[in-house]
């Protein structure tokens, strides 16, 4: 039943995004502009560009996740659909998992497109371990989705709304961004030294965020 509910929520969120394209139409231009601006600011120095590219890529993913989670909950706030989820007799943790899954898929697409821009614009090499790089992307996006989907609810219920989301997300998600950046940096430079530790950190944070989200989402949703 938990998986069925999570699947229903995820399918609904993805369908709404495919129809409205609100996240893609706002987040992608933002990420592309940011990368372009940094590219011009850093100049033609190839070494500098490839050195800063992983951090810029994950910074773009971070801002994208904040915007995306905000928009996801905006559609719940319209017509008070959020109350519909509250009053449905389902495990509220399953609702959280569904929302995190939908955010994960959307962010993965956004990261894929952004990575394409970074590879072309900054000349970032994929490196000899593309599978480990893909794992890093999955784990990094997993952490951003897990935390964003939880805190997006807090933000939509707070009086300060959108302003509250970055304030809540940014400090908490820093370890994920640092670990994902260091892993991406190492892998794109062809080094796997110390990668295991950073990937372990990503796994630990993903697991912790998901577990906390599953447990507390229902409490946050209640009056």
């Amino acid at each position: 039943m938990i998986l069925q509910v999570a699947q229903a929520i995820a399918a609904k969120d993805l369908r709404i995004e495919m129809r409205s394209r609100s996240a893609l139409s706002t987040v992608l231009p933002f990420a592309a502009t940011m990368l372009l601006a940094f590219g011009f600011a850093l100049g033609p120095d190839r070494v500098l560009l490839t050195a800063t590219a992983p951090a810029l890529l994950w910074l773009a993913a971070l801002f994208a996740s904040v915007e995306l989670c905000h928009r996801t909950y905006q559609s719940e706030a319209a017509n008070n659909a959020l109350e519909g989820l509250l009053l449905s007799p389902v495990e509220k943790g399953a609702v959280y998992l569904g929302k995190a899954a939908a955010a994960f898929v959307q962010l993965l697409v956004l990261l894929g497109v952004t990575a394409g821009i970074v590879i072309v614009l900054f000349g970032l090499p994929v490196g000899p371990s593309p599978l480990l790089l893909a794992l890093t992307a999955v784990l990094g996006i997993g952490g951003l989705s897990a935390l964003g989907s939880l805190l997006g609810l807090l933000a939509v219920r707070s009086r300060t709304r959108q302003a509250a989301l970055p304030v809540l997300v940014l400090p908490l998600v820093s370890p994920v961004i640092i670990a994902a950046t260091r892993t991406t940096e190492g892998l794109t430079q062809g080094s796997t030294t110390g990668i295991g530790g950073w990937i372990g950190l990503l796994v630990a944070f993903d697991a912790a965020f998901l577990a906390i989200g599953y447990i507390v989402f229902g409490h946050l949703l209640e009056d």
Partner: protein, 228 residues
Amino acid sequence: MIGHLATRRAPVTTTQPAAVHLSRVTRLFDGLAAVDLVSLEIASGETVWLRGWNGSGKTTLLRLMATAISPTFGGGGVLGFDLHKQRSAIRARMDLLSHETRLYNDLTATENLHFAARLYGVDGRLVETVLARVGLDEVATVRAGSFSQGMRQRLALARCLMRAPALILLDEPYAGLDVDARVVVDELLAAARSAGQTVVLASHEAPPPQFVDRELLMDSGRLAQAPS
């Protein structure tokens, strides 16, 4: 005092437990009592019209029964389940309809109902039937965001019909509705009556008298007169 409390018909007598039993329920918002020491019993199968001016506490009382909000003080039960401890069981058996339709603007009428069916474990094949019943079958594939308020209300009514809950809570169901949609509300009341569903209808507008067993008047968060 807004007016007098009138009893149109003797309350439904039943051996079943009360559908709603509230004991000295109070709900405070920023220190102000929106609902103040309300004690109330509604029999199973009864249709109650909760009347009162705007701000009298009708909506808050409905939302307390629906478990959308918690009482600050007091307690009670809905459909035999504790208001504080068995919220999920209550939610599975009741529906709250208000001007906030809880629909997704970017989903079509059919998709909105299919989503609700999945959450409530209802057979998705009922979707077409209920859409036809509320007169929205011809716009089934149109997004709810392009519907008028009346059409949205009808879609929300269709969701309620699909679930057939034991307790239906209606908050200003006639507000913003055209004549056709008002007929749908009346049909819902008639169907609920014949199916033995309990209905609490909060409205400052009178519903057709044949559907009402009892009237309760709210004033300043209190029941202005004890229910008969």
